[in-house]
Structure formats: C-alpha cells, structure tokens
Symmetry: C2
Subunit: 410 residues, 2 copies
C-alpha cells in the first residue's frame, strides 16, 4: 500500500500515492466549494474566483504564474464543478516543489486587481458564449436547471452573464475569505512524489491557511420537468433523467452497474437497440452523477428531426422491458467493465490524483481499488432491477434542443 | 530499451513496448489508408469501412464483437483521419490474445451485409449532423477544404451526406481489397505485453493478409483562400492558417517550437495578448498538422461579434512583431514544454501505442524519446524566426463561422 494520509494542524488533509517507475507527478488542491454553495445573487462566483486565481498574487503577475510553471514544461490548470474547485498541476519529478508553491500562492495571495477582474469578466462571457454554441454541452445546464429549479444545483457553474457582469473585487475577496477554509481542502499528489516531502512542503506553504466554520449547503430538492429550446440545428439533442442517489448511498453501486449495462458501452442495451439495430443516433449513452445529498441518472441522445418520434418510444421500451429481461451475462459484463475501468484508471497519475482527492472530500478516507471492486462484486441481479424500477417510477426530467416542435416524455 | 520490431513475411510490421509495472495493454492495427486516398466519388469510404468493421464478420455478429471485448472489461475503438485508419483496444494483461484476435477478425473477415450497411449509413449521417452542430469542430473541415480545394486533403473524413447515401457493400469490399495491404499496416502494442507473444499471435492471425501493390496518393496542392458561414451563434469562430511542411521536413521541429511559443500554453504570445491582456476570447491556440507531403499551421480563436474587429489586428500584430521581439527565455520555455510533453506522453499506454505506430508508418522506424528531445534541442533562434517569416509570407487560409458579416484576412 503506497497511499499515505497526513492532516496538518489547521485541518488541511494531504493524501499521496507514490507510484514507482513514473517520471512525472500530478498534484493539486481540491476545495469543497462550487456552484452549489452560491446564493442566486452571486451564482458563478466560485468559477470566477477560480479564473482570478491565475491573474496575479502579491508576488507574481498573471504572466509570471504562467511562465514559471511553463518554464519547466509543466501544466497548471483548474476547474469548477457543482461541488468542488480544483487547482492542479502536472510536472516532472524535480519540479514538484515549484508547482506546489505556485498553487499555494495563487489560492492564498491572489489580489483580484480591479483591472484584472474587468478583463477576466470578458473572458468568462466568451466562455459562456462558447458553451452556448455547443448544444451537447449546454444541454447539461438546461437539464440541471429543470431537475433542480430554484436550487443551487440547478444553477450554471459559469453563472449568468448578468451575474458575471456584476461581480467585483470585493465580492471575490469576501467569498474566498468565507468559503476557503483549510478543513474544506485536500492536497493530493501522485506519481513521482514522496509523502514526507509533500507534507513538509504543505507545512511550509499552507500552514497559515485559516480553519474556520463555514455555512452549510442548502439541502437538495429534485423536481424534474420539461424544457425545450428551438434552434436551427442538424440534430435534436435530448437528455432524459431521473432523481438517483447521493455518494455513499446503498443504491450507488447498483446504479453504476445499471448505467453501464443500459448505456455504458457498445454492448449496452441502448447502443445495441438505438444505434446498432435502428441507426437512429451516432451518440447515445447513460450516466449517473452523484452529489453530496442528491443525484441524477440520465440518458443522452442526438438524433435527426425525423427520427425523434421513433427514438423516444424505443428508449421507453428499453427502460420498461429491462427488469423482465435482464440476463446474468449482462450483469457480469457490466461488472467486468466497471472493475477493469477502476484498474486502468490507476495507471494515469492525473485521474489517480483526482480520485484520491474526491474520496477524501466525500468519504473522508482512502478507499482502495480492492474495496471498490468488492462493492461492485456484491451487487446482485435483484439490486439492479430494484434500483432501475424505482428510478423510472419517479418524475422525469426531459430536456431537448433542436429544430421542430417540443416533444414531451410521458 | 524495451521497444522491439519484427516484420512478418507478408510485410506486416509489428512494434511493441513492454512497460513494466503496468496492468493493462494498449494494442491495435494502424493502416496507412484514409480520406486522402479517396477519389471524390467515394470520399468518406475509408471512414464508412471503419464503421462497418464493427458490424459483423463471417464468425461474429456486431453484437458478439461488442460483447466479447466488453465481457472482459476491455474497450475496442477505431478512428479514421486524413491519412490513417486505426483499430485499437485497451484490455487487462490476460486479455491481449482475445483483443488481438478480434482486431484481426474485423479487419479480415467483415461481411458488410447490406442490411448492416443500410443501418450504419444512418449512423454516419447522424455523426455528420453532430459534427455540423459543433462549430469549433466543423470549422476544421471548412479550413481543410479552403486550404486544399479539389484535393483529397480538402475533403471531409466523414464524406458528404450524398456520398454516404450512395456507398454500397460492393464499394466497401472493393476499396478494402484494393487498399488494405499488409505492407501498409502496423500492429503496435504497449504496456503489459511481451514482444514474442504479440509476434506469435500476429503470425497466427494476420499471416494470410495479402501484400499487394497499391496506388500512390495524389500529391498535395495547398492553395488557401477565404470561407465564411453565417450562423446564429453567440461567438464568431475563426481559423487562420498557412501552408507549413510535411513530417520529416527540416522545418518540422522549428515549427513545433514556434507553435508552442505562439499559442501553445498560458504563457504563449497569443494567450497573453488576446486573452490575458484584452479579454477577447476564452479559447485561442495554434497548431501544426503535418501530412506525408504537406502541412498546415493554424490559429483558432472564438470571440464575440463585437470583438472580431479588435481580435484580427491583434493577431496580425502578434504574428508580425514576433521575429523582432523573440526572447531567448521564450525559446527555452517552448523547448522545455515540448520535451516535458514527450516524456509525459510515455506514461500513457494508449498514447505510446499511437506514437509507435505513427513513427513506423511515417518514418519506417522507431524514434526514441531521446532522439526527439535532441531534435528539439538543436532548434535555434534563427530557425524559428526563419520558419515563422516564411510561413506568414505565404497565402493565408481564413475561415469563419458565426453571426454578422464576413471578415477577411489581408
């Protein structure tokens, strides 16, 4: 076992996995802050903050941040999701101390200079435009909004253009001071790293981080419903979903198996029926996305305007006939796919790093690949049928973008 | 050195890299066949053929192909580019023989049943629709068409909808018989593989492949020009490019360094000037794409309708001022980025597999990471300035999609 965990006095948790024979390291800070912690007035601020972390600190300009990491051939990047913000780097072995120090600098000493806030506002407005122009991307925003109306989980990570135009230096400073508490952070590092070195460096660069109480998140409230946007496109993009379960819920692994066998690969029921037998789509897949206290299970398909009326009853039939036709070999195959996926993901330092950080944020401990495989193995035929039946008996969320008239899921 | 090469009697070349400590293997067949080998009447057939390889052989149905590989948690996939078609898999160590045998089956024994051709035709038409709906994807097709009008390099990999509607079983069989010759194929395998085992398995499953003369490709003829498509979008998507160089040309590495420092990362000139200083874009980057006897260098940007008129002179100024303002530290940084990228790519079995296959197809030999690093090291300041000046002195290709009126590059 090469995974090691240390907690600093201020509550910052450090998790590492030293993988032998690897020349590079992935490392980063994961923060338990994202769109779901935002009030409607500041929706988009977690993401705005993430952008501003690259725009200058008390000792480095934006350009210096970019140059210092790229001088050594490293990459520095960040993302914001509904529940997390991550600042992560990939560098060669010797450059781990530099990358760690830069990450520590940008999340503790950013100045949010007003002139930089103004420029970055424009960049984010362009990012919103780009997402809007990509129908199979923006449909996920419409889906969340329809599933969780008037709730932070339903609001876009990028925020509305109006909010982005309004956020100022003071808002960013206030939000960061309130939300960025050491106890809500994980520092993870994998690949060519030594645990003791990472701990020493974190002690040096993160020890001053404050650890204070932060307000709790607003409990989720799934509702579901319909949404349609008419656009002059070649395809109708469709997303059907249902309320599923949070992380750690007993339904989580049965749902993962169900998603894999319904729409997880070429042998899955949806791929076989919708694409292989009927040629109705190029892309069709299912997914389960879990949050702290909620989850959504969904099916995406992109089809032609003429094909929609065949696609919808076909998907409906696949969902309804599933419980009475499930074969053991399908169950075994889905489990094999999940288990191989777990083992293969260990071979990428960046996905391993992400995985360790997420486990610490969600479960507050490391979960070994063997433990996950064991959980997949114990899923029974009855578990999967039960979870699938309960899922589709609930209120659906049905979202579409494209030409023609609105279709509804009934 | 763990890379080994063996050539079978029929000319099939096998290259492997056994990487210790890895549980999975990436393996596949790369074929020197793609859109550039197609006549206008059958443009799209290489890609259609790649799709049909999954639709049934003399001994397996489409469903069996999918099930057999996914029963063991493996993935089987394929892609077609301008010059290559690849069929590749990722599996756990023990499933290498199965994956290899399935790849051998689908590329030698596919039946192209008319009923399956009809279904797959619909899938490909949906794929064309999906690409069309993604402006920052389809813009690359428009770009190639404008750069190489009336030439195979200018025609879309997916083909036109009309061609896709016309291709029949007979066309597919004829094209495959003509083009799929053993001497145009590389079998590559990396990760948890043993060279001798791969050679034995290839001997068993690929020895019957015919090795025949195939016609040569039509020589390239870059022209350049302008193209604009008015669409109701949030952003104007722009792609500016110039003729660059083929693989193996002395300009290749200087161009790679130039692309990296012009638009390769956060510290690059375009990112700093266009995004960081002016907030005109979310995405801006440059690239060099080389073919056997041609190449294109390009710059992509997505901006707002109001921002286009500031963006274009800004990009022009970055290109024109570059030769007189190049700093040694920029040059060093770009080289460091390229070299670290080479080392980091060795850590992914799938990118390593792709790399080995491409080297064998293009250079007919393995090129070690050390040799590539040495080539990057020898690039001088003068090389980069010279290549950049020659590049932008030539006829441009300028393509845009979005709202408003056409802008031209002059």
């Amino acid at each position: 076992m090469t995974v090691k965990i240390t907690t600093l006095d201020n509550g910052l948790r450090i998790i590492t996995d030293d993988i032998p024979g690897i020349l590079s390291a992935s490392l980063g800070l994961w923060v338990d802050v994202g769109a779901r912690y935002e009030s409607p007035e500041v929706n988009g601020i977690s993401h705005f903050l993430e952008h501003m972390a690259f725009k200058g600190t008390t000792s480095r300009s934006a350009k210096q941040i970019a140059e210092e990491i790229e001088n050594v051939g490293g990459h520095l990047n960040a993302y914001t999701s509904k529940e997390n913000t991550a600042y992560h780097a990939r560098v060669l072995e010797n450059d781990v101390p530099l990358a760690l120090e830069i990450i520590a600098d940008i999340i503790q000493n950013s100045t949010f200079e007003p002139v930089e806030v103004e420029r970055e506002r424009e960049v984010i407005l362009q990012e919103i435009g780009q997402a809007h122009d990509t129908p199979d991307d923006i449909i996920f925003d419409y889906f969340q909004e329809t599933a969780f109306p008037n709730h932070p989980l339903g609001r876009p990570i990028l925020g509305s253009p109006d909010n982005v135009r309004r956020i100022q230096q003071g808002d960013l400073k206030k939000y960061m001071t309130q939300e960025y508490s050491a106890a809500r952070m994980i520092f993870a590092a994998t690949g060519a790293v030594k645990h003791e070195q990472i701990v020493d460096l974190c002690q040096k660069h993160f020890a001053k981080l404050s650890n204070h109480e932060t307000k709790n998140y607003e409990k989720s409230s799934y509702q579901g419903g319909h949404f349609f946007q008419n656009r002059q496109l070649e395809q109708v993009h469709l997303l059907l979903g249902y309320e599923s379960c949070p992380y750690g819920h007993p339904d989580f692994f049965p749902l993962s198996v169900f998603s894999s066998l319904l729409g997880g690969g070429m042998s899955s029921r949806l791929f076989q029926e919708v694409r292989e037998k009927r040629g109705l789509v190029y892309s069709v897949y299912s997914f389960n996305t879990s949050f702290r206290d909620a989850g959504v299970f969904g099916i995406y398909a992109g089809t032609g305007e003429k094909q929609v009326d065949e696609l919808l009853p076909t998907v409906k039939n696949v969902l309804e006939t599933f419980p009475n036709t499930l074969e053991d070999k399908e169950l075994d195959r889905s489990k094999a796919q999940l288990k191989a996926g777990i083992l293969m993901s260990l071979e990428s330092t960046s996905s391993r790093c992400e995985q360790l950080a997420q486990q610490m944020l969600i479960y507050k401990r490391h979960i070994s690949p063997q433990e996950i495989i064991e959980k997949v193995n114990t899923v029974t035929r009855e578990n999967v049928i039960d979870v699938a039946q309960r899922l589709i008996s609930k209120s659906p969320t049905f979202v579409s973008i494209g030409p023609g008239k609105e279709r509804r899921w009934s």
